[in-house]
Amino acid sequence: MTALLDIRGLKAEIDGRQILNGLDLAVNKGEIHAIMGPNGAGKSTLSYVLSGKPGYEITGGEVFFNGEDLLAMDPDERAAKGLFLAFQYPLEIPGVATLTFLRTALNAQRKKRGEEELSSPDVLKRVRELAKQLSIDPEMLKRPLNVGFSGGEKKRNETLQMALLEPKLCVLDETDSGLDIDALRIVADGVNRLRAADRGMIVITHYQRLLDYIVPDVVHVLAAGRIVKTGGKDLALELEATGYAQYQSEAA
């Protein structure tokens, strides 16, 4: 079986600094992988490289997404193929209404996949339902994207986008950062609703706390740009107790 995501020996640098250092990772459909690691290990870089953010130079390795060369695709193509990155810091876009953005994104992806575009009322209906599940005030949808939203609202909005776009692979970058316990629960419930046999997830986090709510199948430790240890969900608890120090010295 072809892995949903297959990363082989990935090396990447930014501004001449090597961040990813021969990273291997395979995620199958239906699996949730947690990637944990100390600050500066390359967790966010991995998420950006996967989603195609400009500025990163790939200096080695390959990434296959459903068997296709992911690194050859533009960011919008990756999204249309089913890759979704939930940003650690969702951006504010003044002047673009949230709903307009959601409709444009959904229809751009559908168009690229050769599917029929949805009418505004149809999009609105879907968005409203999802907003309700995520306790998002419908009035917020009229407001410019993320402008003036609280940290929790932004993360809920990311989850809403994810649910609307129905990606094949979700990459959640530090989704727990800046969330209080109530917001964390709402977001985690939203993510858990998206668990499906044909969908994979990568949950990137510094703390174990998130993994109490989004329970992973596999836990990896990322240090100095490489996966240095892989285990079951117990590994997260172990890390919580021992910290990352041993992996930092190992990697160095």
Binding site: D74, D76, G95, V96, A105
Partner: protein, 439 residues
């Protein structure tokens, strides 16, 4: 050896002098008007065309940009006029009252003058001049050389008055058209007087053929009476090689509201100069201007807002999107006179550069002579935000579409200032068409 100091007249300056000398006799108006014209032309001749050392024109060197004075446009023939029927299409279907000004002359036979609302009077400027009415002298713009040229040479235009208390539901659309043929110059003067408590929306469009390097010099004087309200929308959509110079003078009475929206999309060289005087207590003026420029377009928006009376409020927002080798200029000055206590004035100029060769010059200024005021200004110039673009692309939106969305958002802020939904939608369409042509 001492160098001889003398100002060398440019070909265009000599051309304007010839033009004035030849036209003086035939321009409408009696002796009094002729004296005003002569006086204005002398003021122009003394200063010459403005250039980079003329403070108010420092980024728009007309001595360089205006090479020759075109002959005055002849009265256009029937064929040319029939072209004009199609003009102003941007607002077609909105049911606006269209008044056509073709090649500098008001064309009543092409205009929609039927069923004018009681209290609304529309006349040709040539008629007012023929009756020796003193409609030419300018106030705040009086010292400006190209406005003086307009005073000297203006032959026609439209004069509109709205009686006190009359609320005009149907907007008036001044359709300025330059038709084809030999490149020519037109000088028009128009005027709008709103009586106290009157309400009107005035729309202006300016257009002409792309192949002709014609010249347009328009001036509009607006008097908004006490508690009256005027919404003014102007689209400068001249042909690709045209020169367009526009002077607007607006004066507001007590409690009056003047809202101005300008969109510059066409013309090779454009200067929009606006002089707004908040003359009555508690008056409000909002001036929102947008420029969408590409190729080698040069568009200058220069704005002077004079707070004269107490408790007046003004907002000025300028947004420019500049592509290719185009240049956007914004100069804005807010003056608060000693008597204008409790003035609340804010000005913001922002330019978005879409290419490495695009240029924006922004110069906001405040001159405050009162001590109890709230004033502020700011300016930013930059490229499209790559982070925002990436965020949109990461959601599946293709690069060009992502850029268009961000540009739309940027310009949207000024379009949103237009009160009427139908006009706002038409203006949004103008912007979308511009974005489409960019692809």
């Amino acid at each position: 050896m001492n160098a001889e100091v003398r100002s060398v007249k440019t070909a265009a300056e000599i051309g304007f002098a010839d033009l004035f000398a030849a036209a003086r006799e035939s321009l409408p108006g009696g002796d009094k008007i002729e004296a005003v014209r002569r006086d204005a032309f002398d003021r122009f001749a003394a200063q010459g065309l403005p250039h980079s050392r003329t403070e108010a024109w420092r980024y728009t060197d007309l001595r360089r940009l205006l090479r020759d004075a075109k002959p005055l446009a002849p009265r256009s023939d029937a064929a040319a006029r029939s072209v004009a029927r199609e003009a102003g299409a941007v607002f077609a279907g909105l049911g606006l009252r269209r008044l056509l000004i073709v090649d500098g002359a008001f064309a009543p036979e092409l205009s929609d003058l039927a069923g004018l609302e009681p209290g609304v009077v529309v006349r040709a400027t040539v008629e007012a001049l023929g009756a020796d009415e003193m409609v030419l002298p300018l106030d705040m713009a009086g010292g400006d050389p190209v406005a003086a040229l307009n005073t000297a040479l203006a032959a026609d235009g439209v004069m509109i008055t709205v009686a006190p208390g009359v609320v005009v539901e149907r907007p008036i659309h001044l359709v300025f058209v330059t038709t084809g043929g030999t490149p020519a110059a037109t000088f028009t003067r128009s005027r709008l007087e709103l009586g106290s408590g009157a309400v009107l929306t005035l729309v202006e469009t300016h257009e002409g053929p792309d192949q002709s390097d014609y010249q347009v010099n328009v001036a509009l004087q607006v008097d908004v009476g006490d508690r009256a309200r005027l919404d003014h929308v102007k689209i400068t959509g001249e042909g690709a090689a045209a020169l367009h110079i526009s002077t607007l003078e607006a004066s507001t009475g007590a409690g009056a509201s003047y809202r101005d929206f300008g969109f510059t999309i066409g013309g090779a060289v454009v200067r929009n100069q606006l002089f707004v005087k908040l003359a009555g207590e508690g008056a409000i003026a909002d001036v929102y201007q947008g420029s969408l420029l590409a190729g080698r377009q040069h568009a200058d928006t220069t704005l002077v807002v004079d707070h004269v009376a107490a408790g007046s409020q003004s907002r000025e927002v300028f947004k420019a999107v500049v592509d290719d080798e185009a240049r956007a200029v914004f100069q804005g000055r807010i003056t608060v006179q000693p008597g204008a206590q409790q003035t609340d004035a804010r000005m913001m100029a922002r330019a978005l550069l879409l290419s490495d060769e695009a240029v924006a010059n922004c110069k906001p200024e405040l001159e405050i002579f009162a001590d109890d005021v709230q004033c502020g200004h700011g300016t930013t110039t930059g490229a499209l935000d790559d982070q925002l673009k990436f965020y949109l692309m990461a959601r599946g939106i293709p690069e060009k579409e992502a850029e268009a969305l961000l540009i739309q958002a940027f310009v949207g802020e000024v379009i949103d200032a237009v009160a009427r939904d139908d006009l706002r939608e038409a203006l949004t369409q103008v912007m979308l068409n511009w974005l489409k042509e960019r692809d």
